[in-house]
C-alpha cells in the first residue's frame, strides 16, 4: 500500500529525534532490548496519533512524552520505588570537596568514569531520573520538561533539586570508593600533586 507523502514526511521528521528517544528509553529501562521495544511502540503510537500533533510545536518533547507515558504504562507497578529516593539532606558535592580540601574541586569531576556517572543517573528513581534526562542530558527548558511530564514547573524544579543531590552523593561515594578522594580530605593516590 502506497503511503501518503504527509505520513512519510511526518515519519522522517519524527526519526530525527530517534537518538533522544532511544537514550531516554535506555536510561529508563536500563535494557537495550526493552529500550528498542519501547521506542518502536512509541513511534507507532505517534504515527497513529499524528493528527494530535500541532505543527510548529516541540515534536521532540511530544515524542518523549509518548515514550515515557508508555514506559509508565508498562512499568507502573514500579512506581512505588519512586517514594524511596534516599533522603541525603542538603548534599552539595562542591561544598563537600571544598571542606575536605580537594582543590581544585573540578579536578575530581574529570576523574569520574563516564560509566559511573551513567550508573549514578540510572540509580535515581524513574520519576527523578527522567527530569535529569530531560534537563541535564537533552537540554530541555523547565517549561518544556514540565509540559513533557505533565507536571507544574515547580515539580520539575523540586524533582531536579532532589535528583541532583542524590546524584552528587552517589558520585561522591564512588569517588571515595575508587580513591579519587579521601574522606578526610585532599586527593587520592592517583592524583598528581599541584606544583
Amino acid at each position: 500500500m502506497a503511503e501518503s507523502p504527509a505520513r512519510t514526511a511526518f515519519a522522517e521528521e519524527a526519526l530525527t529525534h530517534l537518538d533522544t528517544l532511544y537514550r531516554g528509553a535506555l536510561r529508563l529501562t536500563r535494557d537495550p532490548d526493552q529500550a528498542q521495544d519501547l521506542v518502536q511502540e512509541a513511534y507507532l503510537r505517534a504515527l497513529r496519533y499524528q493528527h494530535s500533533y500541532q505543527q510548529g510545536t516541540n515534536m521532540r518533547a511530544w515524542l518523549f512524552a509518548i515514550m515515557r507515558n508508555l514506559f509508565w504504562d508498562r512499568f507502573k507497578g514500579s512506581r512505588k520505588e519512586d517514594v524511596s529516593l534516599d533522603d541525603v539532606g542538603e548534599f552539595v558535592l562542591y561544598e563537600k570537596l571544598r571542606d575536605e580540601g580537594a582543590k581544585p574541586e573540578a579536578d575530581v569531576l574529570d576523574k569520574l568514569a563516564a560509566s559511573e556517572v551513567v550508573s549514578a543517573v540510572e540509580k535515581l528513581p524513574p520519576l527523578h531520573r527522567e527530569v535529569v534526562l530531560l534537563v541535564d542530558v537533552e537540554g530541555f527548558s523547565y517549561k518544556d520538561a514540565a509540559d513533557t511530564l505533565g507536571v507544574p514547573i515547580g515539580t520539575v524544579m523540586s524533582r531536579l533539586h532532589r535528583a541532583r543531590q542524590q546524584l552528587q552523593k552517589s558520585l561522591y561515594d564512588y569517588a571515595l570508593e575508587s580513591g579519587i578522594v579521601r574522606g578526610n580530605g585532599m586527593m587520592g593516590p592517583t592524583q598528581v600533586p599541584q606544583q
Binding site: 512519510t8 526519526l15 530517534l18 532511544y22 521506542v39 574541586e105 573540578a106 569520574l112 541535564d136 523547565y142
Partner: protein, 72 residues
C-alpha cells in the same frame, strides 16, 4: 546580592532559567566573588559531565533502518 542568594539561584543560572534581570544580578555577583564563581564553574562542569556521559548512546543503525521501514 549576598552569597546565599547567589547560591540559591545558582542551579537556575546554570540551567539558563533566570530572567534577564536576575541573571545579570548573579553574573555581577560572580564577577566580584571568586568563591561563588568557583562554585558556579563546578556546577556548570558537573552538568557537562552528566550530559557527556549520558549522551554518547545513539540508536543502533539497524534499529533506525528497521523503524524507517516500519514507519514508511
Amino acid at each position: 546580592m549576598k552569597c546565599k542568594e547567589c547560591e540559591d539561584k545558582l542551579d537556575r543560572y546554570v540551567d539558563r532559567e533566570l530572567n534577564d534581570t536576575e541573571a545579570l544580578e548573579v553574573q555581577l555577583h560572580l564577577e566580584g566573588c571568586p568563591e561563588c564563581m568557583d562554585h558556579y564553574d563546578f556546577q556548570a562542569h558537573l552538568k557537562r559531565v552528566v550530559r557527556h556521559s549520558c549522551d554518547c548512546d545513539t540508536a543502533p543503525v539497524a534499529f533506525r533502518e528497521k523503524l524507517r521501514q516500519i514507519l514508511s
